[in-house]
């Protein structure tokens, strides 16, 4: 769209190529919601949460849409980035299998093989998941692959299971495979964790708090718009992404799945984006268990804050004051 | 004597930017087994071209060359050849360059190694066996190439100005060596030279080529007894033959004269020429 002279230019980087889960961001741009808040948002897709978090940290990008697990991990390395709004607050992490594979529950994974993408959330938390479900990871083959190869290998029966997200990967796998996919969701085995949200570097947040606030306010508005009319939101995608690689049905399915994960059990009654300290503590613990990060190195306050959100979050849940 | 090398109505022309260059006009002559033939002719007339064709390295544009009755239609390799440039392989020492001949022909190593060393010794290159081509002088490189052509003791020798870069005395010496070799084994030799003296001294017969396109301007028998001693050069018969060949040359005109120049024919009366 055209750019008003006074607008703040904001570079926003998603973690991966646009999916149905990101419809609020797309709608915000497409319908001029950000512009109405004085922001000229330039939305681009990234190459994984870790990279997005780093480019946000060093100022190449202003804001990001990234994964909480990666964020905790990055924070442990000293990357000064925090999540300012949680957009997927229940864990979509899962292991998928095909019906004929005989994998119906975690224990069935023993002796099977699945492509492993280093740095990807479901893989990172898999040791914790295995521990929680009493599966011996030693008997599971985890060859290293990249994301497209992981899914192609699974669809091609080269491996018996694959890691993924119930809100993003599952609809896609279903569409491609044209078969019923078995889902073993981590959250159904007691492993719930925060997922995607808006992240911002500490320096940018300190220098442009108004921009961050305006962005979150607009995103909240856009989220409501998507919830109100998902099909209209899907059309925004086609206006913004000329490659238009995803089918409308797939986008719709991804959004519907994401919408169900918008808030955690603890933030069910909270306004848009508020995250809960206890949810962060759980997530941090899982990452610690999954990746061997030193316990206690990362505190909820290191990685999240509700201070820029438009609505009034319950102060008792606040992840912590700014550092 | 039957014709050993039979050049039968051979012509050769090369395609070139400004229309084809005819190097050899229809040419016919025979070379008998054991005969020593010298070829003289103006620069660029087609001598090298003819030798290359005789070795089967280029095909005549028309006509045929037969060696020992067999038409030459591919490399005829039962011969020893000296090219106008020494063509030594730069990564081989003098000795190894000579031995290339033995290697390609799969001759036994040890005896030919000795033979090569002996040949080099004979042409005055003892002590230079392990030198690389770029450490040799022009004449030395040429002598290495000669040794290479002689190594396998071939029936037929095609020598394209093999002594061109040698000083008078080294040349005399090697001429005598070549004569001795020839007398001992009676090889068939076709010898291109730009020295009329050398041609008369060495050959049984001298062919004088006309300027491009080469034709045979004269075919002169040299009747001196063998072995010829250097002294025959001082005889009137020798001078007469040299003079006769120079006359042929002169009559043909070496190249189109420039009006300001002294006519080339004027130059044709000297006694001692290269």
């Amino acid at each position: 769209g055209t750019r008003a002279p006074g607008d703040d230019v904001v570079d926003v980087r998603t973690d991966v190529a646009f999916t149905g889960a990101m419809l609020p961001l797309l709608v915000g741009v497409d319908r001029g919601i950000y512009r109405a808040h004085g922001l000229d948002v330039r939305l681009n897709s990234g190459n994984g949460s870790a990279t997005t978090i780093q480019t946000v940290a060093n100022g190449s990008d202003d804001l990001g849409y990234a994964d909480a697990t990666s964020l905790v991990q990055s924070a442990a390395e000293g990357v000064p980035v925090r999540m300012v709004a949680g957009m997927v607050q229940r864990s979509p992490l899962a292991v998928f299998s095909k019906p004929g594979s005989g994998i119906d529950e975690p224990a069935d994974l023993a002796g099977t093989e699945g492509g492993y993408v280093p740095g990807s959330a479901p893989e990172m938390l898999f040791p914790a998941f295995a521990a929680a479900t009493g599966v011996d990871t030693g008997g599971i083959g985890l060859p290293r692959v990249d994301v497209p190869a992981r899914e192609a290998l699974f669809l091609n029966d080269r491996v018996q299971f694959t890691f993924g997200l119930t809100n993003v990967s599952l609809p896609k796998l279903r569409e491609k495979c044209d078969c019923a996919i078995r889902t073993i969701a981590y959250r159904e085995h007691g492993l719930d964790a925060l997922s995607s949200g808006i992240v911002v570097g500490d320096r940018f947040a300190a220098q442009h708090p108004g921009t961050v606030r305006a962005f979150l306010a607009a995103t909240a508005e856009a989220t409501r718009a998507v919830l109100d009319d998902p099909d209209a939101a899907v059309r925004s995608y086609y206006r913004l992404d000329e490659s238009a690689a995803l089918s409308p049905d797939l986008l719709r399915a991804q959004w519907d799945a994401s919408a169900r994960l918008l808030r955690s059990a603890r933030t069910r009654a909270e306004p848009f984006g508020c995250t809960d300290r206890a949810d962060w503590a759980d997530t941090i613990r899982l990452v610690e268990r999954g990746t061997g990060t030193d316990p206690g190195l990362v505190q909820p306050g290191t990685v999240a804050t509700n201070e820029f959100l438009p609505g009034d979050c319950d102060p008792g849940r606040s992840p912590g004051a700014s550092r | 004597m039957t014709a050993f090398v039979d050049v039968d109505r051979v012509t050769k022309s090369f395609p070139a930017a400004g229309g084809p260059v005819q190097a050899v006009a229809e040419m016919t002559f025979q070379l008998h087994r054991g005969e020593f033939l010298a070829i003289v002719g103006p620069s660029g007339c087609g001598k090298s071209t003819l030798l290359t064709a005789a070795a089967g390295l280029t095909a005549p544009t028309s006509g045929q060359i037969r060696i020992a009755g067999e038409p030459v239609d591919g490399p005829h390799t039962a011969l020893g050849m000296v090219f106008q440039n020494p063509e030594l392989l730069p990564w081989r020492t003098a000795l190894d360059n000579v031995l290339l001949q033995a290697e390609i022909r799969k001759l036994p190593k040890v005896p030919y190694r000795d033979a090569a060393a002996r040949l080099l010794q004979q042409v005055g290159l003892g002590g230079f066996e392990q030198h690389y081509p770029d450490e040799l002088s022009g004449g030395m490189a040429q002598r290495v190439a000669l040794c290479r052509a002689l190594l396998h003791d071939p029936e037929l020798l095609l020598l394209d100005e093999p002594f061109g870069a040698l000083d008078a005395l080294t040349r005399d010496r090697i001429q005598l060596d070549l004569q001795r070799l020839w007398l001992a084994r009676r090889k068939t030799v076709a010898f291109v030279t730009h020295s009329i003296d050398e041609a008369v001294f060495l050959a049984d017969r001298v062919l004088v080529f006309s300027p491009r396109p080469a034709g045979i301007a004269a075919d002169i028998d040299i009747g001196f007894d063998r072995p010829r001693r250097p002294e025959i050069r001082a005889t009137p018969e020798f001078a007469a033959l040299v003079g006769r060949i120079r006359d042929v040359f002169a009559r043909l005109g070496v190249f189109g004269a420039d009006p300001d120049d002294e006519p080339a024919a004027d130059a044709a009366r000297g006694g001692d020429q290269a």
């Binding site: 991966v16 190529a17 990234g46 190459n47 990279t51 780093q54 480019t55 060093n58 669809l155 000329e242 | -």
Partner: protein, 259 residues
């Protein structure tokens, strides 16, 4: 006549390959989301031509800029290294180090430092095409016939003249061998850079398509990349024809026969 036949042969081979591929895929031996049929790919290449053409622009610009940069740096450095032994000894090991460091591995640093724009792509392309250029240029410049240098030295040629009149023509065949390898690697470099992080380009299309398991689009992008690579290679080959002097140097070919 021979020209047409010489073009027919490779095209024929290519067509045969594609036909086999088509049969294998349509016979259901390979699922379409792994390897789409060539006709499907062709269809996508044509149908999505506007998108693919748009996305080709940044990729090609990065390739051209990066390759140009590599040429502009590699050739002078090769020349300097040819003239200065000390420089040669000092730089060569560093060049090797720079080359053997896996570029795929350091590419993320570029993104972190330079963002998702053209700059990291250009640098990546330059980095990846640099080595073959310099190695072949060094070989070519060293292959110069020393006697030719002696000749021009006796005429009073300075380095500059000796370089342009003698070394450069002697080295050109080698330099172009390096350029041919480099220009194809340049395309690879741009794709790698776009894989690691970019806002646009055919590499992004390819990555997105793979992420979406849209193999037809992925292969269509590969097809466009291949065509771009062929065109660039063709441009280098054409430059070679024009610049390498004495194309008629094959006069002695006949006597060499088929050896």
């Amino acid at each position: 006549m021979t020209h047409i036949r010489s073009a027919l042969l490779p095209v024929g081979l290519l067509v045969v390959c594609c036909a086999v591929w088509q049969v294998v895929v349509t016979a259901g031996q390979v699922p379409e989301y792994v390897l789409p049929a060539p006709l499907t790919v062709l269809g996508t290449m044509v149908a999505d031509a506007p998108l693919l053409a748009t996305e080709s622009v940044p990729t090609l610009l990065a390739v051209l800029a990066g390759f140009g940069l590599a040429v502009l740096v590699a050739l002078p450095v090769a020349v300097l290294m040819t003239y200065s032994d000390a420089l040669h000894r000092a730089l060569y090991p560093l060049l090797i180090v720079a080359q053997v460091v896996p570029k795929v591995a350091v590419a993320p640093l570029f993104i972190i430092w330079f963002g998702f724009g053209q700059l990291p792509k250009v640098l990546m392309v330059a980095l990846i095409s640099f080595f073959p250029l310099i190695v072949d240029a060094l070989v070519g410049l060293a292959a110069t016939r020393p006697q030719s240098l002696v000749l021009v030295r006796s005429m009073g040629a300075g380095r500059w003249q000796a370089f342009w009149k003698v070394r450069w023509p002697w080295a050109l065949p080698s330099i172009f061998a390096g350029a041919k390898v480099a220009v194809t690697l340049a395309v690879v470099g741009a794709v790698v850079a776009e894989f690691v992080g970019s806002d646009d380009g055919l590499g992004v299309v390819l990555l997105d398509a793979r992420g979406n398991l849209d193999s037809a689009m992925a292969f269509a992008a590969i097809g466009w990349l291949t065509i771009a690579g062929l065109l660039l290679f063709g441009a280098v080959a054409l430059a070679e024809r024009v610049l390498v002097p004495g194309g008629r140097r094959a006069a002695s070919a006949e006597a060499a026969g088929s050896l």
